[in-house]
């Protein structure tokens, strides 16, 4: 099963819709609740990052025949200048608006990595591409 979702820059009101839908979808497949929680946290953090930091992008969700959950987040820029710095817990470039909505603690990427079985991120000025899998 594969589903894709468009995420718009700065759309804080709808942020979390894709993550909620993915969680509901996985629940119908009877996935382990502990895995489901890790998927939900990582997916929500990454979706929020698309809203806060990107110029817009897509989320692709796949549940493989072997029960592996794969999530891809692909945006169109502006990219992360220094991924190592962005991965540092507490480091944040989030706007005041993002903080008003409860985000920007600088824990997102590190939290996603802790949740995922596999975590891979690449970034250039043309976009950031994040892949995570869970099993």
């Amino acid at each position: 099963m594969i589903k894709t979702y468009d995420v718009s820059k700065g759309n804080y009101e709808d942020a979390g819709y894709a993550s909620r839908d993915i969680k509901l979808t996985l629940k119908t497949f009877g996935i382990d609740p502990k895995v489901l929680k890790r998927v939900s946290i990582a997916c929500y953090e990454a979706e929020i990052n698309l809203v806060i930091h990107s110029d817009g992008g897509t989320i692709t969700f796949e549940l493989t025949d072997t029960g592996v959950v794969q999530l891809s987040f692909d945006d169109v820029g502006p990219g992360i200048p220094n991924i190592d710095l962005a991965m540092t817990p507490g480091y944040s470039t989030a706007s005041t608006k993002a903080r008003e909505f409860g985000f920007g603690a600088g824990m997102g990427l590190d939290n996603m990595k802790a949740c995922a079985s596999h975590f891979d991120i690449h970034s250039s000025s043309e976009g950031t591409h994040l892949k995570m899998s869970f099993q």
Binding site: E13, K37, S40, Y44, I48, G102, F103, G104, A105, N111
Partner: protein
């Protein structure tokens, strides 16, 4: 500490109750924050029943609670809670209560009474 006791300690006001059984939920602890990303990180590995205490009142508190499988949110500082938020709570089966106490006062009172000790 059961939710009904928690509500007595902080003079909690009922905003939306998903199910009457929530009043009998026995909470192991609570996490107070206005940064949802902190909650997502701190409560990631918790298997206990936790209460989310926050001064925020936008849809992201519902999304965060839902993501973490939390059943109850306590909003502090008497923040107004609009119908949009209540609709979101209904869709996610999450109960919301509020108190006029500040975050500091609410957390202090609950901790003093044994929640999370």
């Amino acid at each position: 500490m059961k939710l009904k006791e928690i509500l007595e300690v902080i003079n909690g006001e009922e905003i939306y109750v998903a199910d009457k059984s929530v009043f009998d939920i026995d909470f192991h602890g609570a996490f107070g924050t206005d940064l949802m990303s902190d909650a997502l990180c701190h409560l990631r590995d918790s298997d206990e029943t936790e209460l989310l205490i926050t001064g925020l009142s936008n849809m992201q508190i519902i999304n965060t609670a839902s993501t973490l499988d939390l059943q109850v949110i306590l909003v502090v500082r008497g923040k107004p809670i609009d119908d949009h938020l209540i609709e979101g709570a209904k869709m996610s089966d999450i109960s919301i209560f509020k108190t006029d106490y500040t975050m500091y006062q609410a957390c202090g009172r609950l901790y003093e009474k044994g929640l999370g000790k």
